[in-house]
């Protein structure tokens, strides 16, 4: 018990250390860290609407983070979140464009499913390539991100462009306003808190159940820890690697659909870069997952925290005129600090538990083997 508490304290301390560096940066930039903190807190939690905005910002991070957690448990590194989000968004958008008149009860599940399928396809590609052609997934997912950005630009500037944009000659790469029947219903009147938030949380809980309570998750984790032993036990390693990336992609794709149908503008739009549409959720989701100890449930509060940091950063810039890039740099530091503390944490835990620090598990490419508060 003690070891679990100390264990979860270590990454939190590491994150605090990163924020301390952030405070120093603020000082150097000539702003008071206290004012900065106030601005961030105010921007993230200052009102019901802002709280809702934070939750909405956290939504894709929860989904991508849960997906990353599943992938990492199977020892697959999915850096393709950006591309998977885009794929999901595109397919969901096409569905909404094709069937705008379906009633909400049908159309909303349909577009969400479309998003999930789009993401699944884009996740399955590197999955199959890794499992059956030994293509390193880090690289194929990065490359697919590049491909998807251009594909998105092609579609949004060409076949899917808002006819009004052509008429006006501005040609902003955006679709027309999509069917209101597909809009994710608002949960709290007057805020932007929409159904997508609930979908994400439920998806993360399901991800947890799959990973720790279902045979599929058992196999994914076995494959992640030891593909050789899994294979000898009769588990189809290739197929499970494909599943891991496909599921991870599915959650990313779902995030893509939610980004479109939970957006202010109720349409898909970009500025020509991936982040212009995704808000870099594909990368920030990795950060959230990590901070959540690569555990789908812990990813929820973690994503909320980073959602807060991101919304808070907008306020930081508004109020103190500190560039939002500070928040980006800070995110990087949090990743570095937290991941660097992982070994320290298992070392401390092993001392507390008076057990040999798990010798065989030390060759990990993967971050933590045990998560506080959860028996595996």
């Amino acid at each position: 018990m003690l070891s679990k508490i100390v264990g979860s304290a270590v990454p939190v301390l590491a994150a605090l250390a990163a924020f301390l560096v952030g405070a120093v940066m603020l000082l150097v930039l000539g702003a008071s860290p206290l004012d900065g903190l106030k601005a961030i807190l105010d921007g993230a939690f200052g009102s019901g609407e802002r709280l809702a905005a934070t939750a909405v910002k956290a939504t894709p991070l929860i989904l991508v983070g849960a997906g990353i957690s599943i992938a990492f448990r199977a020892r697959v590194i999915n850096i393709g979140g950006e591309g998977q989000i885009i794929a999901g968004a595109l397919l969901a958008t096409v569905i909404a464009l094709a069937l705008p008149d379906l009633p909400s009860v049908v159309l909303i599940p349909l577009v969400l499913m479309g998003g999930a399928i789009g993401g699944t396809i884009l996740g399955a590609i590197p999955g199959v390539l890794k499992a059956y052609a030994s293509v390193n997934e880090i690289l194929s997912t990065i490359m697919l991100n590049l491909v998807m950005v251009q594909f998105m630009n092609f579609l949004l500037r060409g076949p899917l462009i808002d006819p009004l944009e052509i008429a006006a000659g501005t040609r902003i790469p955006q679709t027309q306003r999509l069917s209101d029947n597909a809009a994710l219903p608002t949960l709290v009147e007057g805020t932007r808190l929409h159904l997508g938030v609930v979908v994400a949380v439920v998806a993360a809980v399901i991800a947890y159940i799959v990973l720790w309570r279902m045979p599929l998750g058992f196999r994914l984790r076995a494959v992640g820890h030891s593909p050789e032993a899994a294979r000898a036990a009769g588990i189809n390693v290739e197929r499970n690697i494909t599943y891991a990336l496909a599921i991870s992609g599915m959650l990313g794709g779902l995030a893509g659909a939610i980004l479109v149908f939970g957006s202010e503008g109720q349409r898909m739009i970009t500025d020509g870069s991936a982040a212009g549409f995704t808000g870099a959720a594909g990368f920030n989701g990795i950060v959230a997952a990590l901070f959540g100890g690569l555990h789908p449930l812990w990813t929820i509060p973690s994503a909320f925290l980073f959602g807060a940091l991101l919304t808070g950063a907008t306020q930081l810039q508004r109020v103190l005129q500190i560039p939002a890039a500070l928040a980006v740099a800070l995110n990087g530091l949090v990743v570095i600090f937290v991941i660097s503390s992982a070994r320290f944490r298992s070392y401390i835990q092993s001392i507390i538990e008076k057990r040999p620090s798990n010798r065989a598990s030390e060759d990990l490419e993967r971050p933590y083997s045990k998560i506080p508060g959860v028996d595996t």
Partner: protein
């Protein structure tokens, strides 16, 4: 909707929040508080291009203004959050400086009926009565630049480096193409690199033009700095758009079409003073002085070419020239 700042405890330190929210703008005494204006823009506030043109314009206004800026918000949802945040914070005027922000504005503006939103570049207000739309007739200056470019080109081949085929870049480039061809150019080669941000690709696109015998270059959007670099290394004259880009290549920038939004900003603010919070569209053009062709005194432009440019400007103002856009 309708939950605006007055429903929430004012947590910001801004003293005017309550006043602005509770009493509405029409009763605000002009002497009391400065006008609070906020800009949300996709690129950096000193980008020597689109965003800077608006920041310069607000600063050029002869009014007591308290200006806040959120720049570099190319993520549309982030921009939306910033726009909403500024409205909540009790700003009087929020400038959504990017066509792509329009979709969000449609959702936000009705929630803040006392705030005036400015949206550009856009040609209509989407039926919202607290939104002013603004746009540049960028094709006009493009045409003039095209005439000049054709005048100084020896090969008659002229290159254009664009980002995505979108926004005012399209208008500028179309006008430029027409002007250059009217001015006697043999061909105008246009490359869209596919990115607003990739400077390296813009530079290589300029290089590719040079290979094809291009001896004059222009371009639009913030990534053109890469292309300007190529131009200056190869002594190729350059035409700027949006802001005065002379500082990028003091010897080679021939002219820049500069956006002087202050001309129409003043009009919009006056309307607001008079109680009209939006509902109209504005355009800057050569005729109203919102578009200005600023020639670089450091570039030795032949008399004849300069005269042709002036003639073109007059022709456009007079309506005798069609820019093709």
């Amino acid at each position: 909707g309708g939950s605006s700042a007055e429903d929430e405890p004012a947590t910001t330190t801004v003293p005017t929040t309550e006043a602005a929210g509770a009493t509405g703008s029409e009763t605000t005494e002009p002497v009391a508080a400065p006008l609070r204006v906020a800009i949300v823009a996709p690129s950096a506030k000193d980008d020597l291009a689109f965003t800077q043109s608006m920041v310069d314009a607000v600063n050029a206004l002869d009014r007591d203004i308290e200006l806040s800026i959120t720049d570099g918000t190319f993520v549309i949802e982030d921009a939306a959050a910033a726009i909403r945040g500024y409205a909540e914070d009790g700003n009087d005027v929020v400038i959504a400086h990017g066509t792509q922000f329009g979709a969000s504005l449609i959702e936000i503006a009705p929630d803040f009926p006392d705030v005036t939103f400015l949206w550009g570049t856009a040609t209509d207000t989407q039926g919202l009565d607290n939104v002013f739309a603004y746009s540049p007739a960028a094709d006009e200056g493009g045409y003039v630049n095209g005439i000049v470019a054709a005048g100084i080109s020896e090969s008659g081949i002229i290159g254009v480096v664009g980002p995505l085929e979108a926004g005012d870049a399209v208008a500028y480039i179309k006008g430029f193409e027409t002007g250059a061809l009217d001015g006697g150019a043999k061909s105008v080669n246009i490359t869209y690199t596919g990115s607003f941000g990739d400077v390296a690709l813009a530079a290589e696109a300029a290089q590719a033009h040079l290979v094809n015998g291009v001896d004059v270059l222009t371009g639009s959007a913030q990534m053109v700095v890469g292309a300007v670099g190529v131009a200056s290394q190869n002594d190729i004259p350059w035409f700027g758009n949006q802001a005065n880009q002379t500082s990028l290549a003091p010897a080679l920038v021939v002219a820049s079409q500069v956006y002087h939004w202050e001309v129409i900003l003043e009009e919009m603010l006056s309307l607001r003073d008079a109680g009209v919070l939006g509902g109209q569209a504005f355009e800057i053009n050569l005729a109203n002085g919102g578009l200005v062709i600023e020639f670089n005194p450091g570039y030795d432009l032949p008399e004849g070419v300069r005269a042709a440019a002036d003639a073109a400007i007059q022709g456009i103002i007079g309506g005798t020239i069609d820019t093709g856009f």
